[in-house]
Assembly symmetry: C2
DNA sequence: CACTAACTGAACCCGCCGGTTCAATATGAA
DNA sequence: TTCATATTGAACCGGCGGGTTCAGTTAGTG
């Protein structure tokens, strides 16, 4: 059997190909969808042989799962960071909310974020369990964080008394809802100006409905 | 409507198999997605031989296109009819808007409507042109109709002066946005009570932001 | 240097399924 | 009845692509 040495520490012979495969897989899946994606192409783009792919991930399906969960966590981290700008709203609440809404909208239009949403939705029939993971990492988590911030604002008397969960849900809907339609499900590229305007009108309606002092 | 009994006995001949194929195709596509859908299964479920399918629609792709456009028009008709309830708002604006919002939410959760959205989105990589058709028939058309109603309401002094297009977009976002998250992309069935509550809070924020007389 | 484990490339197997062919049959119209 | 057309079942082809095998190579380890 194994001697006293750490035989089991998996000292990867080469650089970690695993990450390269995951990255390549996300790109290929995002480009062609699950069914149309060729494992061969993933391997090539990762600079790796096909058997190596099957060595790290037993089959196409588990590779897909691993790819999406990894991407979900990455996207989540980005969005949470964006939301943290609302920690200290400062004097001009409207201005900071405008900025946050704009950044959120931008983040939603980001290629990785869009591809992730698309892949999850598209493959919902075959991988229903992925919804929980991806949505949990993105929508739900973001909504909770937003609700936290809104609760603080209410407590500080800057928003009228309300259910922060509902308010957060609605604010996010106002920001992201029009995006899908306007961008033709991601087909059309939205300009920064469009995003600004969209964010501003979303915040405007939100504040009209929720601000304690509707100035 | 009483002719269904005659179908039981091998109706070999020129009955309108075309519609049967389209219906069956929508179901099968909706169940398995485009790539996983078997033409054989579509034929069987339509009570038809496989060559007959290829006789009416040259190949799987054109069959898919025909299926989706047909479904899109059907869904559109339903939604437009729903919206017409807002033609005569009556005394209690909030009550009628609540009802319309609820019906719209219900319609969005409808199996056919959900499947249509899903199929379009899922296959956007392979059939980018379908977005225009489907979205044109659903989101865009509905938004326009809603904007018309809101413009009337503004003119009648019941809403504050505003851009009816933006207002319509936002109202629809408030109603449909939370649906996707809450229903886990259609995985979870929402109760009627949930839909009612959702519609009411959507209308509430909308009216707080847009009503001329915020009572 | 020897040993082991990961990696490679290319060929290979095999099931799946879109699409076709064809002879037989049913239908509807003239 | 007769002809044209739509339909049927069943078999068949052919490509595609997931997954495997294997002999050979490379790279860390001692």
């Amino acid at each position: 059997m194994a001697s006293a040495a750490a035989v089991r520490t998996a000292p990867r012979g080469r650089i970690d190909k695993r990450q390269a495969i995951l990255d390549a897989a996300f790109d290929v899946f995002a480009e062609h969808g699950y069914a149309q994606a060729l494992v061969q192409e993933i391997a090539e783009r990762a600079g790796v042989a096909k058997p190596t792919v099957y060595n790290h991930f037993t089959d196409k399906e588990t590779l897909f799962r691993a790819t999406l969960t990894a991407a979900a966590h990455a996207v989540m981290d980005g969005n949470i960071a964006t939301l943290d700008r609302m920690r200290s709203p400062g004097e001009d609440l409207r201005a900071t909310m405008n900025e946050v809404a704009y950044q959120l909208a931008r983040s939603c239009c980001d290629r990785r974020s869009r591809s992730l949403r698309w892949l999850t939705y598209a493959q919902v029939a075959r991988f229903p369990d992925l919804i929980e993971i991806v949505q949990g990492c993105t929508s739900v988590r973001i909504a909770e964080a937003m609700a936290d911030r809104l609760a603080r604002l209410t407590l500080a008397g800057r928003l009228r008394p309300c259910d922060p969960a509902v308010a957060a849900e609605q604010l996010l809907a106002l920001v992201t809802g029009p995006l899908e339609t306007r961008s033709r499900l991601g087909t059309r590229k939205l300009t920064a100006a469009e995003l600004r305007a969209l964010a501003e009108s979303a915040v405007d309606t939100f504040l009209r409905a929720y601000a304690a002092d509707p100035r």
